[in-house]
Symmetry: C2
Subunit: 111 residues, 2 copies
Amino acid sequence: MAFHKKEEFGKKEQELADFAKALAHPARIAILKVLAQKNECICGEIVEVLPLAQSTVSQHLKELKNIGLINGTLDGPRSCYCINWKAFERFNNYMNSLFNTLKIKKEKACC
Amino acid sequence: MAFHKKEEFGKKEQELADFAKALAHPARIAILKVLAQKNECICGEIVEVLPLAQSTVSQHLKELKNIGLINGTLDGPRSCYCINWKAFERFNNYMNSLFNTLKIKKEKACC
DNA sequence: AAGCATTATCGTATATTTGCGATATAAAAT
DNA sequence: ATTTTATATCGCAAATATACGATAATGCTT
């Protein structure tokens, strides 16, 4: 059986894991980079740049939106995406917090 | 069809995605925390702390080892794990680099 | 040599992710 | 009103990930 089990871990660990999962595919990292570079945020432009079908890109965008790393607003027939800096900052802080927590014991290597 | 397609992205994006994937499960984050806190690094202790079967923990350890975030050495019948700080530092730098790259355009929000 | 403790691996079941084409939806343009 | 354009969603197929029990492998202990 492969039940979730993920709920049995701490809330923070769960949330950090979810954030990390959002970055766990090169397409999504590429999307974030495009969103940061071009300030246009239009789906079609992303599709042009990525080696993926429109529906697939749309799916990746949805995942990024669900986790909160990007915002999407309708602009006529198109949709305009952009990075949610607040959420991004939070993620960044989580990551740095994790790194720092782990680094405390850095000197006492055992193997 | 769902072929990989992942190879069609940049090397750096791919590597960062792989790192992120390693953190994309709360069990693996928990393992890293345990490895940092206790400086004992023995598999059995991790199994005791996590709500997972021994074989499952072993699998997660293998993934962390494959990506290079931890080292594992044999110590008699047990195996001693510890964090690979060099790789961790590299991952941290990658992440910060990504954040900084994205932040450059932070002011020009479009939506 | 036999038994014990520890960990890795195998086999298997289930869940999730990835990807595409086809279709639906919605606004704009004709 | 109809067509065009842009995006989202659905349905499906294949690949991966998660989890466990059972078993194998390895090194101590007796």
